[in-house]
């Protein structure tokens, strides 16, 4: 999955658009990007298939197991349901006549003679073979006539009404495997249902327990649901038959081409100032929110979170500068100096080439995560610190 390559917010660019265009153009190596679908630049952690039609979470969890169980159970069902269980074809008239001849019947053919049996020895044991009047033959051992299907079936087990087919010699293995996989699937589904019902019934309780902030047994919020329609039928109808909201992420939409987008990072999203839509807007918004929060926390005298010096280090590292000077900065040095240190360039090229670095940074540095939810934040902070007349938002 391609991550959203955030374009750092350059306040200078925001106010003076030609500059950004120029700088972008100056940095631009490649011509205008080919059009891309929005799912390709989606910032979330989802994975997309079939050109954006199918969306799944990054971690599939036990989905393969569930799918496998369902597919196998269905497959076995079809295997045993729609196959010949081992039907014996009826005797030809000549055969029947021959059998009749072999058995001495004193009576005439006008009435049905009493049921005939034939005794044979199977492995030194006497077994009676019955004569089937419908199929006109002596049934082989373990063969039974199914009245529903009106057939003699070899090794007849039973006629399954749920499926509408007999279970016999040829499909017994499919039936047996089907029953076993169905048992697994049922217990799996039961587990799912119990979990979901528990979550549904006591969402506050369960979630609070998970988060470890269990305060009261019976939450007062439980008594009143502000979202209810006060009628059980209405509630059900709204949930099950209410209007289907459309997808808001426009997965298969085409990313608008932008001449200002820096070419070095192929997946950069165009960022028209304050007028961006959809995901670029999301990127901007979330980054700006965090910036604001940090700004406020800094000026409210909040202590630097323990990991932030690392952030500075990391941020600087991203830009390609030496890290040693950054490491020297104490926590008190939530200073603008580091932010102001000349970094490679305000523009994306440093960031784009370190895509792998970025990922590793994100994954390996919890402090980084704490400080900034997105990789662009540190870069953003850096850039801002560099701005001469901009209100400095240094790395805390």
């Amino acid at each position: 999955m391609k991550n959203c390559e955030y374009q750092q917010i350059d306040p200078r660019a925001l106010s003076v658009s030609p500059m950004s265009a120029q700088s972008g153009a100056a940095e631009e190596v490649r011509p205008v990007q080919p059009s891309r679908r929005k799912w390709e630049v989606f910032p979330g952690k989802n994975r997309f298939f079939c050109d954006g039609r199918i969306i799944v979470a990054r971690q599939s969890g036990v989905l393969p197991l569930t799918l496998g169980l369902i597919v196998v159970t269905c497959g076995l069902f079809f295997a045993f349901d729609f196959t010949d269980p081992g039907i014996l074809p009826r005797a030809t008239p000549e055969e029947a006549a021959d059998i009749e001849k072999q058995i001495d019947t004193s009576g005439s053919s006008t009435y049905r003679p009493p049921p005939r049996t034939k005794e044979i020895l199977i492995n030194q044991q006497v077994v009676k073979l019955k004569y089937c009047f419908t199929c006109k033959m002596f049934r082989p051992p373990r063969t039974s006539h199914c009245s529903l299907c009106d057939n003699c079936v070899e090794r007849f087990d039973h006629h399954c009404p749920w499926v509408g087919n007999c279970v016999g010699k040829r499909n017994y293995r499919f039936f047996y495997s089907f029953i076993i996989s169905l048992s697994f699937l049922t217990s799996f589904i039961f587990g799912c249902v119990v979990t979901h019902i528990t979550l549904r019934e006591y969402p506050h309780n369960v979630l609070k327990k998970i988060k470890g902030s269990w305060s009261s047994k019976r939450c007062t919020e439980e008594t009143g649901n502000p979202y209810s329609y006060n009628n059980i039928i209405t509630n059900c109808c709204v949930t099950l038959c209410g209007p289907m909201p459309p997808s808001l992420i426009d997965r298969r939409g085409v990313v608008p081409l932008s001449e200002a987008s820096p070419a070095a990072s192929a997946t950069e999203v165009e960022l028209p100032p304050f007028l961006a839509k959809n995901d670029s807007n999301m990127c901007t918004r979330s980054t700006k929110d965090v910036l604001e929060r940090m700004f406020r926390s800094f000026y409210s005298g909040a202590l630097c979170p323990p990991g932030t010096p690392k952030t500075a280090r990391v941020g600087v590292e991203v830009s390609g500068s030496t890290t040693s000077s950054a490491e020297r900065s104490p926590s008190a040095g939530c200073s603008r100096q580091h932010a102001r240190r000349p970094v490679a360039a305000p523009c994306p090229p440093p960031f784009s080439r370190s895509s792998k670095k970025r990922d590793s940074l994100r994954s390996s540095n919890p402090a980084f995560r704490l400080a900034s939810p997105s990789p662009s934040l540190s870069r953003t902070t850096l850039i801002l610190g560099e701005g001469p007349d901009i209100g400095v938002i240094p790395i805390p």
Binding site: L76, E94, E95, I120, I122, N123, L129, P140, R142, R173
Partner: protein, 134 residues
């Protein structure tokens, strides 16, 4: 060489269940064929058929591998692959064809593949002899 002849009679060799439900046919020589064919010859034919069916239903490593492989592939492999039983049935069909051509047809007899009769009987059709000299 088979002549176009009227069917005089049909003889049915029944299944032999003394060894269970395995597909075996009685090797007892039917009296109707006494005038047509050697007892030895006939019994040899039936015995060979019995052996072939035993091979088809044999419980060996091959059958287990086939069964397990089929199970693991959710029996889809049966769409692509012929089972061992089916292969042996083809062999049996070929054998019966040979026997008919070489031995039985010249004697005015015809063996019918048991698979066409639900593996219940070996049907031997006796044609009327019309002055045929051997």
């Amino acid at each position: 060489m088979r002549q176009q002849a009227a069917i005089a009679a049909k003889v049915f060799i029944q299944r032999d269940y003394t060894n269970g439900t395995v597909c075996q046919f009685q090797t007892k020589f039917p009296f109707e064929l006494e005038s047509r064919i050697d007892k030895q010859q006939f019994e040899e034919t039936v015995q060979t058929l019995n052996n072939l069916y035993a091979e088809a239903e044999k419980l060996g490593s091959q059958s287990y591998i086939e069964g397990c492989l089929a199970c693991l592939t959710a029996y889809i492999i049966f769409l692509c692959m012929e089972t061992h039983y089916e292969k042996v049935l083809k062999k049996i069909a070929k054998y019966i064809q040979e026997q008919n051509d070489k031995i039985y047809a010249p004697r005015g007899l015809l063996l019918t593949d048991p698979v066409e009769r639900g593996l219940r009987v070996i049907e031997v059709t006796i044609f009327e002899e019309r002055g045929q000299t051997r």
